[in-house]
């Protein structure tokens, strides 16, 4: 029923049908579907998500169970589809559980950064003047540090643990969101429909949350998607340096760290964990680019 021919007459019914047909065809989802690389990215993301969330229920193996007889077992060893790590733990199980942690940290970090950053950007862009200057100076200060370094510094201050990793990545992400949101607000706040609704007496909070936010959300979604990709990498880097996820928790970055020491003799540990990171980051990047292509060149009638 995709391209059903709308009856070619000029009746109100036909025009209404054509309108709905256009609405559907131009809906964000349909446009996204037409973008092959975005779809590929989406598949990767879905795969990784299912792998990590559903995996533990399908592959019921304890990721922490050590077996010194199976240390550095190669993939294909009976009972160990992906082999074992340097303490004899099932690599597949560790990847599945590690994936959970990595994804939760990445998405959680993104969420923390988004909420604080977008709020800051909204207020900064809308209020202008001194408030804008102060908030942006703080953001500028934070962005003077490379992202990973900033997260690292925050981890040092906060200490170990999953919550702190989420917080660190989140706070390090704030300036990016703030700057994006502020830029969009500066454009939208001068649109005529904002002036119109102000003329009707709308309060500032109404304007911010009912009008500005919905109209800037699309570019923020793009940024958030790409931010998740970056967060995965950052978590991996932090864990790799020993500053992120620490035992007994497991993440892909932690696995990668373990694999580094035995990279000659048991390359599969680093390879598979690295591959997991690569696939996820690629997936989110492609998806984010695709969403940007869909939402960006908005056809303004």
């Amino acid at each position: 029923m995709e391209n059903k021919e709308v009856k070619r007459d000029l009746s109100e019914a036909s025009q209404q049908e054509m309108l709905l047909k256009e609405r559907k065809a131009n809906s964000a989802w349909r446009k996204l579907r037409r973008n092959k690389s975005a779809m590929f990215g989406l598949i990767l993301v879905v795969f990784v998500t299912l792998f990590s969330l559903v995996g533990p229920f399908i592959y019921r193996v304890d990721p922490a169970a050590m077996d010194f007889l199976k240390v550095n077992a190669k993939p294909g060893t009976p009972g160990l589809p992906l082999g074992a790590d340097n303490l004899g733990r099932d690599l597949l199980a560790r990847l599945i559980h590690g994936g959970r942690v990595s994804l939760i940290v990445a998405v959680g970090g993104m969420a923390v950064g988004a909420v604080i950053g977008i709020l800051a950007g909204l207020i900064s862009g809308y209020a202008g003047g001194k408030v804008d200057i102060i908030i942006m100076r703080v953001m500028d200060g934070m962005s003077a540090f490379p992202f990973t370094l900033l997260a690292l510094m925050l981890m040092t201050a906060l200490g170990a643990g999953i919550e702190n990793v989420i917080l660190s990545i989140g706070i390090a992400s704030v300036p990016g969101y703030a700057r994006m949101a502020r830029g969009q607000v500066l454009v939208v706040k001068n649109e005529e429909y904002i002036k119109a609704v102000k003329a009707f007496g709308a309060s500032n909070s109404r304007i911010l949350f009912k009008h500005l936010l919905p109209n800037i959300v699309s570019s923020l979604i793009v940024y958030a998607t790409l931010n998740v990709a970056g967060a995965i990498l950052t978590e991996a880097s932090l864990s790799f340096l020993g500053m992120g996820i620490t035992p007994p928790d497991v993440s892909w970055g932690a696995i990668l760290k373990d694999g580094q020491d035995v990279i000659r003799s048991a390359s599969h540990i680093a390879t598979y964990s690295g591959l997991a990171i690569l696939i996820t980051v690629l997936g989110f990047n492609l998806l984010g680019d695709g969403i940007r292509d869909v939402l960006d060149p908005k056809m303004k009638k």
């Binding site: 709308v6 009856k7 070619r8 000029l10 047909k21 256009e22 065809a25």
Partner: protein, 336 residues
């Protein structure tokens, strides 16, 4: 007296491919234009008048194609020319004046360099000669201190002045045909009067033809010799300007004439408006495109697209019914 017309457009159709169907932006446009004459193309947004101009200039976007019809310019069919051959024609034999003077000029180049760009593209002149010529052309369009202003940038001019510069660029190579797409819509009324007056004077001197695309009938009365009325991609009526004014035969033309507020109107009588809105151009073609807004609509109008008929010498109308038949329908109570 029976010279070949400078431009003869016959059943031009330009369609656009989109995700939801084929948009028949121009779906049957026919008119002709003699040297030294001005044709007005009148219609509302979406009627296809701008696409008609773009088709003549062969400046269509990627998804737009001329699917039928011919455009004979001095006997040669432009539709069949290659893009390379079109480069010879654009700016040189046929030039265009765009609607928005604020954006039609490149803001990072001086107007002098922009005019000379046009000159150098088509004529072999030394730099000095081109400069002199540019000054001459600027003077012709009434820019004061032309020599000095060659070095000015577009943002240093007002809207009316910018439009004059654009006109200067359009006439620089003495084109035989100038297509002016809503050239004064964005201008104040006093500036509009000046610019239109200028165009008329220039035309008298060079004997070039003008196609004036507009939605303002007042401009048509002032400037045009012949008028083509467009609706939903098709020519609905085409005649001498006086005939259109006093003896229009198409219900849409009547509606248009009646709905324009004139200073001579009695404010107590409501303006005659045409109910409804123009149709979606992906749905047209199977009937008269105007039928769902026409108060004289009959069965045949819903099923058959009317052909252009010459109802009197030089007066063409695309309606199933003649004026007498329509008047009779009105007398008998219309069709509501």
């Amino acid at each position: 007296m029976n010279k070949e017309p400078l431009l003869k457009v016959d059943n031009l159709k330009t369609h656009f491919n989109t995700a939801t169907g084929i948009v028949k932006a121009v779906d049957g446009v026919t008119f002709s234009l003699d040297s030294g004459q001005t044709l007005g193309i009148v219609g509302e947004s979406g009627c296809g008048k701008s696409v008609t101009s773009s088709s003549i200039m062969r400046l269509l976007p990627k998804n737009g194609h001329i699917v039928e019809g011919s455009i004979l310019f001095e006997g040669k069919d432009i539709v069949k020319l290659s893009q390379k051959e079109m480069l010879q024609i654009r700016g040189n034999e046929i030039s265009m004046i765009f609607q928005d003077p604020m954006t039609a000029l490149d803001p990072v180049y001086t107007i002098g360099s922009q005019i000379m760009e046009v000159i150098n593209a088509h004529q072999k002149m030394s730099k000095g000669e081109a400069r002199e010529y540019a000054v001459k052309v600027l003077k012709m369009v009434g820019i004061p201190e032309a020599e000095k202003r060659l070095k000015s940038y577009p943002h240093e001019f007002s809207g009316g002045m910018r439009q004059r510069v654009i006109i200067a660029m359009a006439i620089a190579c003495n084109p035989k045909l100038i297509i002016a797409d809503e050239p004064t819509t964005a201008l104040d009324v006093t500036v509009q009067a000046q610019v239109l007056g200028l165009m008329k004077n220039l035309q008298k001197e060079s004997n070039s033809s003008i196609i004036l695309v507009t939605h303002n009938l007042g401009v048509v009365w002032k400037m045009c010799d012949t008028v083509m009325v467009m609706y939903a991609g098709k020519t609905v009526e085409y005649a001498d300007v006086k005939m259109i004014y006093s003896d229009a035969r198409h219900p849409y033309t009547w509606g248009l004439l009646k709905s324009m507020p004139k200073v001579t109107d009695d404010p107590n009588i409501p303006l005659a408006s045409i109910p409804g809105t123009p149709p979606d151009l992906k749905l047209t073609g199977g009937s008269c495109n105007f039928h769902n807004r026409c108060k004289y609509c009959q069965e045949i109008c819903k099923n058959k697209c009317p052909e252009m008929k010459e109802v009197e010498p030089g007066h063409f109308v695309a309606c199933h019914f003649s004026k007498e038949e329509l008047v009779e329908m009105e007398r008998r109570g219309g069709n509501d």
